[in-house]
Subunit: 380 residues, 4 copies
């Protein structure tokens, strides 16, 4: 019998790996975790996902003040409705089986240019940097509107994005054109491969979003079969970034986007090569998040093939507490910044780039919680 | 200590793999998903399994109109009873522990030639192509009857089929003879290996069914120890098809048959090399399926060693909705055609043959549903 | 960082593997499944474990008539008590937490030579071959007594047995001496390695029992950390048998002993190289088994470190039904002989030795039952 | 697509491996399990973790009399409070959600030098060797106090310890200085790597603690992403110890610390190369443990980022029974010493160093308990 024609390579997700401690340790307070995208600097390398349940202008202002960067979804409720507040309640109160249908209905309203401008101005007036996301089909039209209104960064984002898109109905978006046209950094995604990352960098973009299918509110893998676990995806794209930097001398940061739930996942993202992380569900749990304890992905409202689901995430604490603690939670969902600093200390990494050299090992996780229950069972 | 004499190779099922997106993407509406078997063309590459709970003449007509092809089981109820309708109710109402025994009894009635003809004529009169399945032992006698009545394709099918069968009691079926004798394409299965696929193609068959043991209603692996996970089986047989085509210039399609539950599984089948998929349980869930919300495999009624079980599958929607949506389900069980087209778009495959080149990675799945519950638990 | 000093090799259990079907198939009724141990012939290659809950003289007679061979435990209740019947009820009725302590007490009674003879005579008077098991420490004294009384085969058995045992308190058992002394085949075990299998064969034994730790009623792995999954153990020992046969011209059968639950496990044992299988729990489920629906391992009554546990197994049917069917169960627990014959037919193996050449693949099992429930959940 | 830049190596935990039995066996009573740290001899190679719920002076005295060595935590309650007894009740009675916060509060009291001396004297007055643990930041100040009071061994311990620590706020602890300064063996940890183990040995320490993240009461992996499974960690550090011994002629014992729950885990630790094991939760279950049926890790009370949790462990029996039996438990949680001796007998290891040569195989565990339930389900 012949060898299999296609050798399958093993891909790794967060739960499959752990970080090995380093040969040198360093005090956490000596660690520098800042990052930046072509001039847009972040004190902490945390971005908030362009999900309607996570980011509204108020949330963006708050995260900006704390040193991070929120991305407002301009394909969602805020670009379709004057006042989306009552819609959040409606979504939260919908019974489980009706939620997707309700989302499909709410997201069928048209997008309004005036609201694009208004949302950017709301964020800017709060003193924070304004980052917005657009799908490729509307980027050409709306990105200039957003930048005109003051947007500091534009994220062009769809489930899978490549610079070479074949289409009959519209001339594909040419990234080099939009990069040149806009007076703001352009981040593009999502991708998971070395090749596409390099091609996107060749187009001149200022950042690449990494991740297809891993999010908690995403079901791309069940529906389409498509997805690459985040650690492998980040390793691949980081390799592309490093090679591109070596070849062209321009360092284009990558952002691990999707599937991050705990401080451990954050730390593993950086060890795999991320320059920043994009947080969805853990930020949807913040008291400041507009989603009222729920979250749903950008592909959930797809009119005929939803690829996501409304999930209940609850509300766990303030955004500040989630990022900086202090915490009395022991499951890794609070003090994400403290966790990153301590982890970098144990690895001996003085900054994000040094963290890229940490050793990742393949070590399938055993859930502590499960162990605990098992042990109690042994007691009298 | 010596090395193990037998090296065990790793085999992969649907849940073990994912599809990596491509370097080029393409608009889903530009994707061509048609396929054909030596003249029998399918607008959509979806076949319905020759299971009594899935296909009756009415279902075959409906699927035919939607562009697919249903296979009617001529070893089952429809070839043994004038009117099987009341039997379906009886099976559905039997208590769990009595179901297999009831099936064993019902399937002990003899097969009638007149019913073979009648069923084919019923399907044809509805305007659809008629495909029927026979076991090897009865193929020589009944296949000509079915073709005489107008059958467009004959499937000769058993758990494991090879062209070299050793038997004392009857002269084994010689596939080349039946292929020559019949004026209709002959599809043969099931197999999972490169060698047998090539040998079957050498016999002149027009299609090969791939899959031993993976179906939801099949327990061959528990009972006999035999089974090969579907992705590996499809990769093997697809390699045989491609090599056979290169050597002999004839392209013989293969059909991944068994174990497909979601759009993701469909897409992975094609990425592994399938030319069509055979759907069981998801079609048994259609409102048009005769099984009244139940399904059982062809080996379930075996008189002394049943290798399958009646399972409750429920009824989820119309066949049209399962195939084409629109859907507000997010678990991949509806709009299978839309899922395939979007997935091919993300991979950059313009047709089924290009989809065969998609990269599959080894990425054990994490159940989204489980994650969701876990996350809700974290909330307050 | 240096490579790990000890490379860990992957070992496989029943649930890790599946049998790939063959390129030739054969009618099940043409399959020959007989086996023999130096003159003691078995029509069917099924032995019953030397466990008190499985084998008493009545069970041994019944299995003998059906073509198999039961092994009576001469370290257990039948060699310690005139009438063990009431003890079985006492064990079955003990509350879960008191069961091990009760077993420890019951097994502290001394072994009586007169009972050794009496049990052998009981089996012989029923017309069956009498096989008995002894621990190494008592084999020298009691094996001659058993053979004198008519025993046809002696099994010398402990958790781990080697021909080189270091001891202060007693001169170790020398297997070559006992083989020479006894006028009956001697089977020895258990072992899991190539080297020990060869050394035991060098001692002249007529059979080797394979398996440390895999049984359902055994907790050696939790308690001692020791154990080798059955498929790997069988592959290793079969390689030793084949090499020994090539070198010395004597074919010494091996018996896969422990962990077998289904027909699938039986078939995989033979595909891995077994000449016979030793069945514990599935036979404890027979109506004829003395254990009243319970089972416990030989190491369970250890006075200070029990390494097993009384488990409830229930009663599923007659021994004949378990072995030969007919069955309406679909989980592989009945018609084990039929399953082996059909599986060999699908592999194209005409006899047990040809079955040794079947291909095993590494294919972690997905529980069908789980899938079924999952699917019902999808219904309306 | 290029190969992944970082190859991930597979790491193994206790549940991933099993010990293969040896080619020679030996009577358990002939096995020597003693070990020693530069003059501090242990009859049994069992140490008790420096956890407040495990070790108080009374427990230390008891374990010392039984031949082992307990380590008293001098960063915990006993060094902060005159009488910690009522605090244990308070912790045990706190509701689950308030436990971490209470621990954070209780551990914010300052450490008192007088209590350091008093605890050591209490242990010594009971006739046992006194071992104490300190964090690196307080070792320089308090270790001399403890040794002055009579401490026989000092353990300097934090989650991740290296001899090269970079710090702004205080001059890092130099291990060679403290080793030279103290008139008692110094054990240092924790680490998991070959390199750091060698560097620590170069500093002159008398023992190295192995293990980051595996403990039942530890959540470092969830919170920080950091952790290495214990079997791989022990194999790495044992290789360093052996190489160091070959190069320098000094044998520095290593202690596997964390994650051990059963006799099987104990045996695997020694097979992987441990000279002693550090037991946490299983000793917290002893009637003599001060934790009243609870346990928590040293990082649980961290003021802003707790990395552990209070877990209920119950009380299972006396310390003597846990160590020496006799037992009627079959899950490996009692008679740990007996388990080690029998396991070494099956492997043919006469002493701990010979046990290091046992073969470990990669054999993912199947939970016996689960199997048992599954089987009962099959019964009538």
């Amino acid at each position: 019998m012949p060898k299999l024609v296609k050798e399958l390579r093993r891909a790794f997700g967060f739960d499959d790996v752990a970080i090995a401690p380093g040969a040198i340790t360093i005090n956490p307070e000596m660690v520098d975790i800042s990052t930046n995208f072509d001039g847009v600097g972040l004190d902490i390398p945390f971005m908030a996902s362009a999900m309607d349940a996570v980011v509204d202008p108020g949330f963006a202002i708050k995260l900006g003040r704390l040193g991070g960067l929120a991305v407002l979804n301009l394909d969602g409720l805020h670009a379709r409705y004057d006042d989306p507040s009552p819609l959040y309640s409606e979504i939260a109160e919908a019974p489980r089986e009706a939620a997707t249908e309700l989302l499909q209905k709410l997201y069928s309203q048209p997008i309004r240019e005036d609201l694009v401008s208004r949302r950017v101005e709301e964020i800017k007036s709060g003193g924070a940097a304004a980052a917005v996301s657009l799908i490729p089909a509307s980027a050409k039209r709306l990105a200039p509107v957003a930048v005109e209104a003051g947007a500091d960064a534009v994220v062009v984002q769809s489930t899978v994005t490549t610079p070479r898109h074949i289409s009959k109905s519209l001339r594909g978006l040419i990234f080099s054109e939009i990069v040149e046209q806009l007076n703001a950094p352009v981040l593009v995604g999502n991708t998971v491969s070395y090749d596409v990352t390099r091609e996107l960098m060749d187009e001149g973009v200022q950042g690449v979003l990494v991740g297809v299918g891993p999010g908690a509110a995403c079901t791309s893998r069940e529906v389409l079969g498509i997805g690459v676990p985040q650690v492998t995806a980040t390793l691949e794209c980081a390799a592309a970034r490093d090679d591109y930097y070596k070849d062209r001398g321009r360092y284009v940061p990558i952002v691990t986007d999707g599937g991050i739930r705990t401080g451990g996942d954050v730390c593993k993202s950086f060890a795999a090569g991320a320059d920043a992380v994009m947080i969805g569900t853990p930020f949807a749990q913040a008291a400041e998040a507009p989603g009222l304890g729920y979250n749903w992905g950008m592909a959930t409202p797809h009119p005929s093939l939803p690829r996501g689901t409304r999930i209940k995430v609850g509300t766990s604490g303030s955004l500040e507490q989630i990022l900086f603690g202090p915490s009395s939670k022991t499951d890794g969902t609070e003090n994400l910044v403290g966790a990153l600093e301590i982890s970098m200390g144990m690895v001996g990494a003085r900054n994000i780039r040094e963290m890229h050299s940490a050793e990742l090992i393949h070590a399938p996780s055993v859930k502590t919680e499960g162990k605990v229950f098992q042990m109690s069972g042994l007691g009298s």
